[in-house]
Amino acid sequence: MDGMDPKGTTRLRRVLLPGLLLALLIGAWQVAASTGAIADALNLEDFLVPSPAEIASSVWENRELLAENAWVTLREIVLGILCAVAVGTAFAILMHRWRVLQDAAYPLIVASQTIPIVVIAPILVVWFGYGIIPKILIVALICFFPITVAVLDGLRSVDSEAVKMMRSLDASRWQRFWRVEAPAALPNLFTGAKIAVVVAPIGAVFAEWAGSSSGLGHLIQSDTANFEVARQFATVAVLAAMALALMALTTLAERRVVRWR
């Protein structure tokens, strides 16, 4: 690597090494699946252990079906996250503003995390039917916690001396919020959103399993019944790609908005 600047080298390594490892793993899987080694070891029919090549062709053959269902799940995820961002941020601001509310609600919010939110999905289906509402609610409920806690942390991180300085320089409470507290909490909002992007697909899939007629989660469920293993893997690949794309988008937005970091 002579003549290369160290920064470029590390960047290349950061992309190249994981890429190589991924290629290696997929290659090994390809060999093990196409020779029937895994199926033999598990004592299964060959078609139950699809190779990466078969999965890729399944993605291609089912592209319309997958796109249709991916769109359904994507909408649930994005709308759920947006709800969580709106409600979580607002709630964090209220808790920051009114200490009584924070002291009363914060322990309950933390305690509520012991409830596996996905298990209340069937209840929400009973209440709200098979439409998109219970899915958005589940995704929002799962994403609410990381976003609220992150934003509240950001608001609390503001230096009390900075607040005094701003008061002395004629800032109203509103101006202090917009010019000091809100920008200080913005990086935290993105941290929370990135966690939300990771957990949201889990919420969406579970919500679809609780009752739905479309979506990637629904597709996986119906393919389980029909031993369509290749298409199940294809669906998982699409779901993962979607989550990765959302993560990349969030990171991109963060870099554009939080320029001072």
Partner: protein, 271 residues
Amino acid sequence: MKPQLADPDQTSSSQMSAGAELALRSVTHSYGDLATLAAVDLRVDPGGVVGLVGPSGCGKSTLLELVCGLREPSGGTIAVGGNTAAMERLARCAFMPQRDLLLPWYSAIDNAAIALRNQGLRRAAARAAAKDLFERFGLGGFEAARPSELSGGMRQRVAFLRTLIAGKPVLALDEPFAALDAITRAEMQEWLAAALQADPRTVVLVTHDVEEALYLCDRVAVLSNRPARIVAELGVPVRRAEDRDAAVTDPAFVRAREEALRALHQGSRGS
């Protein structure tokens, strides 16, 4: 790095708020059971520069916050320009905290002009008003720089400018140069002396550097250990000079420093 200051006569009239009188009468303060200030009496004439020195943790910063109306005293009165209400003090004093606390999401000039924005000016107007002072205070060309791109000395200048631009008659400076290295600190003291000459205000300067206090102020109040009271008030024999080295080596200055250190020593033992 001499500050490029204009002749005082040329300073615009809006910047000529020559200061307000400051009067503290038997001011006491305590945090719960912890008494921080015991009967502090202090008077500063309009345009006067008073230094507060004392052992660390003696309540100097608390005193500064009290003057600025950021806190209420437990007893006694504080009058700024004759007004004792906290809101009135808040309106007349500009507080400069120990660390520069420049907001990283704003450019240098937007940081400096934040008081004008708070007072209702639009961004462009606030920048235009600050631009002239940027040039004058040796910050020309750095208007758009991010705080992280500035040196420690420059950050401190922007922070001071931010305090000055608020246009208030009283400046309350809490150890403004404590975080700087010795050379930069000496430069900044010269710079501040020149800045105050061009744009006089009533200044309360908290510092634990006796030499800094004697060089920058016309009077130095020495505080005792907690609960703090003023154990000595020293007039400064040497006029603030352009040349700091000449000032601090003047025999009268050296004698005053000895005297201040002695008072400081007694104060920190005596309580």
